[in-house]
């Protein structure tokens, strides 16, 4: 049996009260409830406070470069299609430095789950604006206020991701439910998670989010309707919808790779003699 203690990792170096704790708990709970063992999971993270998460739980861990968790996650997923691959980013990691990978991973619809701890600020580097900082957010690098933010939900939808959700670090039950859905979903599953940063974001606090979030499951919302999803994606301000915003069965990149139908690449033998037939073509 898988228990919470299987997922007891190192002591977090996050600030007390940080929203990341909620995400860590939600993830662990999801994995335990899905009866997934740590060695079946691969956590690939970037650099930032969010990027430290894999060290604080247990599993295989590839803590990658800032902005680059997605490409190695894709590579690893193709190499071993039996791994449950979860990429973990901060908002700067995912949508700033890693913006291009985000777009294209969504477009190709790779079969990974992507957790983005969106605290709307750069935490680890101490409080600069992030691509999701609210417009006008003043930081040391944006003295005249941040420009209008990227919209990760809308970007993912228009790019072709087949599962796009928003969670809230302050609602662990709901978040862990989303994570389970994301892991189960075949295709690129983005879960953008509202994550208060108690040290550097004094605007988008627990309180601020709590006053605004509402659960889409509470209304008769159909996440398979792309246009409706895009409308939901544009909502941000007085109200912020959380839940699965878009979900569809779309072609998955890995499914079109003929070789993967023979099982994981990593389990296939190396046989140099197979090249013989290629050599003949050059004669």
């Amino acid at each position: 049996m898988v228990t919470t203690s299987d997922y007891a990792g190192l002591k977090p170096a996050w600030c007390p009260g940080c929203g990341n704790f909620g995400i860590l708990n939600a993830l662990n709970r999801a994995l335990v409830e899905m009866k997934i063992e740590p060695h079946q999971v691969l956590l690939v993270s970037g650099i930032g406070q969010a990027g430290k998460l894999p060290h604080y739980t247990r599993g295989n861990v590839f803590n990658s470069l800032h902005g680059r968790p997605v490409p190695p996650a894709i590579g690893a997923r193709i190499a071993n299609s039996e791994l449950i691959v979860i990429a973990v980013s901060g908002d700067g990691d995912a949508y700033g430095e890693g913006g291009n990978h985000f777009l294209h991973a969504a477009r190709r619809n790779h079969d990974i789950t992507y957790l983005v701890h969106n605290n709307q600020v750069y935490g680890l580097t101490k409080g600069q604006a992030s691509p999701t900082s609210d417009v006008g957010f003043v930081t040391k690098t944006t003295p005249y206020g941040a420009a209008s933010p990227v919209n990760p939900i809308a970007l993912a939808i228009v790019s072709g991701a087949s599962f796009v959700a928003r969670g809230f670090a302050g609602d662990i039950d709901h978040l862990s439910h989303l994570i389970k859905k994301g892991i189960t979903h075949r295709g690129f599953a983005l879960i953008d998670i509202l994550q208060p940063c108690v040290s550097f974001n004094h605007k988008n606090t627990f309180q601020w989010y709590r006053e605004r979030v509402y659960n889409l499951e509470d209304e008769r919302y159909d996440p398979s309707d792309k246009k409706a999803a895009l409308e939901k994606a544009l909502i941000w301000g007085e109200e912020i919808p959380i839940g699965i915003i878009y979900e569809e069965d779309l072609p998955v990149y890995e499914d079109q790779l003929p070789v993967l139908s023979d099982g994981p690449l990593v389990k296939q033998k190396i046989d140099s003699r197979r090249v013989e037939k290629l050599l003949a073509e050059f004669m």
Binding site: S64, L83, H101, K277
Partner: protein, 571 residues
């Protein structure tokens, strides 16, 4: 009479220069000749001026010659530009009905109504290429049947094949009747079975033979054809080639795949490599084995996109901040490209580090005949692997500090061992640390791997007399040209030998120091502007070479060019 004969095909991009050149090469390769062929093309899809040179020899050749015996000129520029290179008895084949008023001293002009013949005999204007091909072969009285089988192999037995053979025959017959065999004769030799392939094909085959199962890349001349070959074979050979959104993604995907346990690579050229630098360090600190092919071309930046250079040596030696081990290899010939590549994968996994293969546009897109490769000679050494069965997975530590610096690898998900790694400095388990002691231990551990890797480096290849007054030193794709330059110079009674490196890092300092210190004159021959190998030699041995023969106009060396330059240096 020994055969060492040079064809050239010239024309605009889009006129099929490459196709005629390739078929010419193929037809002589089938006939048992050794071939070396190179391609010169511009960064455009139509128009401009391209040419393809095919050297046909009854002995092994690894370089191009400057002289042209037969030029197939598909446009006027080809005649104007290349007439100076024609040997006195050379022949320029062209369509005099299209290209009027041509004159000139070098080479005799052999006007053939290519288009007319194509239309009349093959029913297709577009067959002028094949007509010219037939004509060229006729001009050396070669066996037309040989061409026919090549054409059928290429175009099939159906109508297209038939039309091509008809076109070839038309050109062949025309020349025979016009000139009545009044030419030199080149006959097929005993049918030695050799492959005709490019450097990039050799690398691709090497990678596949080595068990590379994952490649991710972004197109860039001259590396794109590797990704294209791998993609083409992905289904039959059970591998995956991902066309990534950019080079950053490409190298990081390859690293992810390698971490997960498959042999993985990427390929690019200078600008793309710039974008992979951070990934090189990621592989370094996470000790992930990857192979990176760098097809060099003239820089900086985009430079000359379709030309050749050896300007990345110092860059790849030092790309990335901090100190960690890597290996740098540079295939000498097209055959060597195969073996170097298989080797690269072994070293990458044995020492768990990035291995960079420096090739260049010249090697990448030139063709050579290669004796059948003995695949039983390919070894696969995956290095130290952790096994759940032999050891307790709960004790597994990915970055365990060992004497050799090598920590056994486990693959995530294949056993119960958790494989943890980090591009932050980490402890033995792979978790991030800021501890000074752990940091120092990990740096030392990584660098220790160089000690055993160094033992793997072979002695650089020597050619010519053991002792000589002049030693020519080169690396990578210049091998053939330097080798032949030595022959040329020795024929002129010079005392010359060669030292050539195809394994550049860890640097074989002793052997090079020995050679440089013993030669009265040592010259590096390099396709770059500053003599990057000379700099490396100085850094590693303290010795200055006596001269640098450099070329950085984007064109490859020829043996004659080198011989000439050496003589000039001597003066």
């Amino acid at each position: 009479m020994p055969v060492d004969f040079n064809f050239m095909v010239g024309g605009e991009a889009g006129q099929g220069v490459q196709s005629v050149g390739f078929l010419l090469a193929k037809v002589f390769a089938r006939g048992g000749y050794h071939i070396f062929a190179d391609q010169d093309y511009e960064s455009r899809v139509r128009g401009g001026h391209n040419f393809f040179r095919v050297r046909v020899s009854d002995g092994k050749v690894d370089a191009i010659a400057e002289d042209v015996d037969i030029l197939i000129a598909l446009d006027r520029d080809s005649i104007e530009l290349h007439q100076p290179n024609m040997v006195t008895q050379g022949i320029i084949i062209f369509d005099g009905e299209k290209i009027k008023g041509v004159s000139g001293n070098n080479g005799s002009l052999l006007s053939i109504p290519l288009e007319k013949l194509a239309e009349e005999k093959a029913g297709d204007k577009l067959m002028i290429n094949t007509v010219a091909l037939g004509a060229a072969l006729s001009a050396v009285n070669y066996d037309l049947n040989m061409l026919n089988t090549v054409l059928v192999d290429r175009f099939g037995k159906g109508e297209v094949g038939d039309r091509n053979t008809a076109a070839a025959k038309a050109g062949y017959d025309y020349v025979q009747s016009e000139r009545k065999g009044n030419f030199r004769k080149i006959k097929p030799l005993s049918e030695a079975k050799r492959m005709l392939l490019t450097g990039n094909e050799a690398i691709s085959l090497g990678a596949i033979a080595a068990g590379c199962k994952f490649m991710a890349a972004y197109p860039m001349t001259p590396a794109s054809s590797i990704m294209e070959y791998m993609a083409a074979k992905s289904k039959d050979l059970d591998l995956v080639m991902v066309h990534a959104e950019d080079e950053i993604a490409a190298i990081n995907m390859a690293i992810g795949a390698a971490y997960a346990g498959v042999r993985a690579m990427t390929a690019t050229s200078g600008s793309g490599l710039c974008l992979m630098v951070e990934g090189i360090g990621l592989a370094g600190i996470t000790e992930t084995p990857i192979v990176i092919i760098d097809g060099q071309r003239p820089g900086p930046a985009v430079g000359l996109p379709t030309r050749t250079e050896q300007g990345d040596l110092q860059f790849v030696l030092h790309a990335h901040h901090g100190d960690f081990p890597r290996a740098v290899l540079a295939p000498a010939t097209i055959e060597d490209a195969f073996w170097v590549t298989t080797n690269a994968f072994n070293w990458a996994e044995k020492y768990q580090l990035p291995v960079i293969i420096l090739t260049d546009q010249h090697l990448a897109s030139s063709y050579a005949t290669v004796d059948p490769l003995d695949l039983s000679q390919v070894t696969i050494d995956r290095g130290m692997l952790f096994s759940d069965k032999e050891d307790d997975p709960s004790e597994y530590m990915r970055h365990r500090v060992t004497k050799s610096g090598i920590s056994p690898r486990a693959f995530p998900g294949l056993g119960k061992a958790l494989v943890v790694t980090d591009c932050d400095e980490h402890d033995e388990e792979g978790h991030l640390t800021e501890d000074a002691g752990e940091r120092t231990a990990q740096v030392q551990k990584r660098l220790r791997k160089l000690l055993s890797l160094k033992q793997e480096i072979g002695t650089p290849q020597r050619y010519g007399p053991k002792k000589a007054e002049i030693t020519l030193i080169g690396w990578g794709s210049t091998y053939g040209a330097i080798h032949e330059a030595v022959d040329i110079l020795r024929k002129e009674d010079a005392s010359v030998n060669m030292l050539h490196l195809n394994e550049l890092w860890p640097f074989p300092a002793e052997a090079v120091a020995d050679a440089v210190s013993k030669a009265r004159n040592s010259y590096v021959i390099e396709n770059n502007a500053t003599g990057q190998l000379a700099r490396l030699i100085k850094a590693e041995t303290g010795y200055d070479v006596s001269g640098r023969i450099l070329k950085y106009d984007g064109r490859a060396f020829t043996p004659a060019y080198i011989a000439q330059a050496v003589k000039k240096e001597g003066r």
